[in-house]
């Protein structure tokens, strides 16, 4: 099992998490995720996830004109997104603890 398989389930949470402190545009968010250690993450996955989270009402967007290069669409967490991040985080921590225990027992 590689990281990509695991990522599928938690990418939403990861994207919400990197937007917690600071708004960002698509490619910027991808870079942050990679810097954080999720190096196998694909550009399309992040872009698609952003669009889906936006459609679900967890993100708001605004456009920032850029002097060099294209306009940038920034994404920011709205209250619904923060709630989702909080709930998702709790589920993840519970799940991660269970998995940790499970893996320790099999060792």
């Amino acid at each position: 099992m590689d990281t990509t398989q695991l990522l599928k389930g938690v990418l939403d949470l990861a994207v919400l998490a990197v937007l917690r402190e600071e708004d960002g545009y698509g490619y910027d968010i991808l870079r942050r995720l990679r810097t954080a250690g999720l190096e196998e993450i694909g550009d399309a996955s992040v872009y698609g996830t952003l669009r889906r989270l936006f459609a679900a009402g967890y993100l708001t967007t605004y456009v920032v004109p850029s002097e060099e290069g294209p306009h940038r669409k920034y994404y920011s967490l709205n209250p619904a997104g923060r709630t989702q991040l909080k709930n998702g985080g709790e589920i993840w921590r519970g799940f991660a603890t269970t998995m940790d225990t499970l893996l320790q027992e099999t060792r």
Binding site: D43, A44, S45, R52, H71
Partner: protein, 302 residues
């Protein structure tokens, strides 16, 4: 670089063509800008967009997965969907035409006609075999082998039995049987059509070699040297000459008449003999009506 982005985005869009239009439009609206960011960095590293992101189709698949949509429908699924759509559109016609013949569906009628087609198909198959292996290189109503039709009849019977067997096997058979049967049927139907056309042409072809026991046939392509000119009742007239309007010359043909018919003329052209005999005794219909009739030439009799 912009053209590359547009091209890449278009290819991704094409791979996502089956998504709901709203979802897709929303996705495609921002994609070029997003790709431009990637492209700017890729350019700085000296690689192309496709080198950086992989082929558009792979990118599209990843995008699709992250959106939570199912994989693109497989080719066979798309085919069956298309077939279902066509079927739905044709169905009302199927019912309406079927009703004309007193069936719920036209296909019900066609299904009942299947055995008739199997018999015809078997016969046509026998004709093909007869043409390929028989005495003559063209189809005969009964294929000829060794100067007679005995084997030909047996071949027809065998062809019909085989065709019926194939028809029943196809109904219960698998995909391969159906394809084989379909191709064979189409080939034989085409052959049958060609034979029918050829036979039709042969029937309407003018007969050049006139003999007294054959009926008279009008021809459009002749270069005669001996003619007789007849009136609407089919009675020879003369003496006349024939002038070609184009060349304004007398036509170099011998126009035969009844008045000075020589014995050898009557021997050589029995038709002239017959025509003149009939002209001498006008038929009741000819005397009663002076209106020209369209088909004046009587069938010559000996």
């Amino acid at each position: 670089m912009n053209a590359e982005i547009a091209k890449y985005a278009a290819a991704v869009g094409a791979a996502l063509a089956d998504l709901p239009e709203n979802t897709r439009n929303e996705l495609m609206d921002d994609l070029p800008e997003h790709l431009a960011e990637v492209a700017a960095e890729a350019e700085a590293e000296g690689v192309s967009l496709a080198e950086r992101l992989g082929p558009p189709a792979v990118y599209a698949a990843e995008l699709r997965a992250s959106l939570g949509h199912a994989d693109a429908p497989s080719r066979s699924a798309r085919w069956s969907e298309r077939r279902a759509r066509v079927k739905a559109r044709v169905q009302p016609l199927n019912v309406r035409i079927g009703r004309i013949f007193g069936y719920a569906h036209l296909t019900d009628l066609l299904r009942q006609l299947h055995p008739a087609w199997w018999v015809l198909r078997g016969y046509v198959a026998a004709l093909v075999i007869g043409m390929l292996l028989g005495d003559e290189g063209h189809p005969r109503v009964i294929p000829q082998f060794g100067g007679n039709g005995v084997i030909g009849v047996a071949l027809i019977v065998a062809g019909i039995i085989g065709s019926i067997w194939l028809g029943r096997a196809t109904a219960n058979g698998g995909r391969k049987t159906r394809i084989f049967s379909g191709v064979l049927s189409a080939g034989l139907a085409l052959f049958a059509f060609a034979v029918a056309v050829a036979a039709d042409e042969a029937m309407s072809r003018p007969d050049y070699n006139y003999s007294a026991d054959q009926s008279v046939v009008y021809t459009s392509q002749w270069q005669p040297t001996d003619v007789v000119v007849v009136d609407p009742q089919g009675h020879p007239v003369g003496p006349v000459g024939i002038v070609d309007l184009d060349s304004q010359n007398y036509w170099s043909v011998n126009v035969h008449t009844c008045e000075n018919m020589l014995p050898w003329e009557g021997d050589r052209w029995p038709l002239l003999h017959v025509l003149c005999r009939q002209a001498a005794v006008p038929s009741p219909s000819a005397s009663a009506s002076v209106q020209p009739s369209a088909s004046p030439l009587p069938t010559p009799t000996r």
